[in-house]
């Protein structure tokens, strides 16, 4: 992997790590509303000597609050906070007074990780079906290939929406999340399935597989010891490179109001808040998730272009 790839991987790891430690790196809970500070611009940060200080507007000028590091509040440890009644909004607030920096981090958790989980699910379903089609062949193969081709022929967003329509709308967030993952997995299985099918078909004809059958090996033995070992790495690589598409699927669904609903802080819902007329002109800091998405997308593209040994066809656009 060349330098560009390593840089991209580094940035991606940092972003994912930040998302993982969202609770620690964010001074506030994502749903906490600071009503008096609705649509506040990002807080000015200055250096007074050696202390980092937040400068807030106050009646008759400004008031300053020093930043406290590594404090423990009732909801755990935080890297940095500011004593009440001071506030530190690194990326401003939205119309309900919610800190955008905290929502960005927690939203990263939702959007990035559901992208990863959905990609894994699609990879798993694709592997099982691809093995059925490639190893057992016959009518299994015909059915799986035909259905897969239909899925692949449709525009992905139409397919996603169609699958989403099958899901109930109001249920506990956990149910909705698993439902969303299932929907994305169902929309995304054909590509890995095609890959696995091709591999299984060719591996099945190898001399050593036939010899194993001659020795008396059953299907389970052959699948686990001869077919799956080379299949896993190929699927893993495929899944990793497909993650950005699944992240975009979650963000798009949430943007359209069909993903996790408020007050969940997906980057999609945050973008939907930005896409309103008053927000676009009046509160440009609400575009932070767009910048974050662009960065993530750029990094994945850099990764893709630097390290493909098996360069497949044109990947779908974000």
């Amino acid at each position: 992997m060349n330098r560009r790839g390593k840089l991209a991987l580094g940035v991606l790891s940092a972003i994912h790590a930040a998302a993982g430690f969202a609770g620690f790196l964010a001074p506030y809970e994502p749903s906490t509303q600071h009503r008096e500070h609705a649509l506040a611009a990002p807080t000015r940060i200055v250096l007074r000597g050696l202390t980092v200080t937040a400068v807030l507007p106050a009646p008759g000028g400004t008031s300053e609050f020093p930043v406290r590091w590594l404090r423990r509040t009732e909801d755990g440890w935080h890297l940095f906070t500011v004593d009440e009644p001071g506030k530190i909004f690194l990326l401003g607030t939205d119309s309900l007074g919610r800190d955008q920096w905290s929502r960005l981090l927690h939203g990263a958790r939702i959007s990035l990780f559901s992208g990863v989980l959905a990609a894994l699910l699609a990879g798993l379903i694709g592997t099982v079906l691809g093995l059925l089609a490639g190893y057992y062949s016959g009518w299994c193969d015909r059915v799986v290939t035909q259905v897969g081709d239909i899925f692949l022929a449709l525009p992905w967003l139409y397919l996603l929406l169609g699958a989403r329509a099958a899901l109930p709308l109001d249920a506990s967030p956990l149910v909705v999340l698993s439902g969303l993952l299932a929907v994305m997995g169902i929309a995304g299985w054909p590509r890995p399935a095609r890959l696995v099918r091709g591999m299984a078909l060719s591996l099945r004809e190898r001399h050593y597989v036939m010899a194993a059958r001659g020795f008396g090996a059953g299907h389970t033995y052959i699948l686990t010891r001869h077919i799956l070992p080379p299949v896993w790495p190929a699927v893993a690589e495929f899944v990793c490179l497909a993650i950005p598409q699944f992240v975009m699927a979650e963000v798009t669904l949430s943007f359209l109001g069909l993903g996790l609903s408020e007050p969940a802080a997906s980057w999609g819902t945050m973008l939907a808040a930005f896409a309103r007329l008053d927000a676009m002109t009046g509160a440009p800091w609400l575009a932070a998730p767009a910048a974050a998405l662009a960065l993530v997308s750029l990094c994945y593209r850099g990764l893709l272009s630097s390290g493909t040994r098996r360069g497949g066809g044109e990947p779908e656009r974000g």
Binding site: P155, W156, L161, A165, M280, A287, R317
Partner: protein, 302 residues
């Protein structure tokens, strides 16, 4: 001609398969648009039962599948469960709008992308070529949603483009999204055509460069270019859905969105089937263009 007929049949087959598969998937889904009503305490069970009978959701699956196929063949797409109007009336004008938008966006992308790519291919290494490829790389790295939002932002803040409901704004956004693919495909087709032996010989004969381009390179590049572009129509439709929602164009997108939110299965299914239909129609158009452009295909088939 027979070749076109086979392709048309293939497209029709796809639409039919999507219709059947979509219907079955809707059946397999837990609950339907009545579920939310059922669990709501204010609505008596009798009313829900009546609604079920009215939308004939109480008949067994296979009987509904058969009547669905029958009605599809006669052009009847059922009745919308929430708007109580024939789905075809709702969906058809929207589909036309989406087709209009797609064509506009694609034409915009072509009008800018093809000349730009041709120029870059002809003078590779020049500042034009480098600037163009930089722009394209930036565009392709951005997800479709972000490009649409960017255009919206520009429209709102500068008022150069009308903000909502105009073909110009939506078409511009779609053109930007489609531009990288058009540019890249054109560029590579041109480069490939430039390397063909008959081009070398045309040059060697002393033909002026313009003649070499219009007479030899462009026709040779046209064929592969058109078929490559046909493959990207599917992602174009997805992008147009997003653009329609973000920039307020009354196509299939916003309709589908509302239907999904309300779980109006008839409209959703019709929307998905129509998208497959649009795709099939576009593929057929592409094949027609190919046949017209490349006499070899007329002779030997693809």
């Amino acid at each position: 001609m027979r070749f076109l007929l086979t392709r048309a049949l293939r497209g029709a087959g796809l639409v039919a398969a999507v219709a059947v598969l979509g219907f079955l998937m809707m059946e397999a889904a837990p609950g339907d648009f009545l579920t939310d009503l059922r669990s709501s305490p204010g609505i008596p069970t009798a009313t829900v039962e009546q609604m079920q009978r009215d939308s004939s959701l109480d008949r067994p699956v296979w009987s509904r599948l058969v009547s669905w196929i029958r009605s599809l063949l006669s052009g009847d797409l059922g009745v919308s469960l929430i708007w109580h109007r024939p789905v075809a009336d709702l969906v058809w004008p929207r589909a036309c709008n989406t087709a209009l938008l797609s064509l506009t966006g694609l034409s915009g992308a072509w009008l800018v992308g093809v000349p730009l790519a041709a120029l870059s291919a002809a003078r590779s290494g020049s500042w034009v070529s480098r600037a163009a490829s930089l722009l394209v790389s930036a565009l392709v790295a951005l997800p479709d949603l972000l490009v649409a939002l960017l255009v919206l932002l520009t429209a709102v803040s500068t008022r150069w483009i009308p903000v909502s409901g105009s073909l110009a704004g939506a078409g511009f956004a779609l053109a930007l999204i489609a531009l990288p693919a058009v540019y890249r495909h054109t560029y590579s087709s041109m480069r490939m055509a430039m390397g063909e032996p008959f081009v070398e010989s045309a040059r060697a004969h002393g033909l002026p460069p313009v003649r070499v381009w219009t007479g030899h390179i462009l026709p040779a590049a046209a064929g592969p270019l058109i078929s490559l572009l046909g493959l990207s129509f599917s992602s174009l439709l997805s992008a147009s859905l997003l653009v329609e929602v973000v920039l307020g164009w009354p196509g299939l997108g916003p309709l589908l969105l509302e239907a999904v939110a309300a779980r109006d299965q008839h409209v959703v299914l019709a929307g998905v089937v129509l998208s497959a239909g649009l795709l099939a129609a576009a593929s057929l158009l592409i094949d027609l263009l190919l046949v017209l452009c490349d006499p070899r295909i007329r002779r030997d088939g693809l």
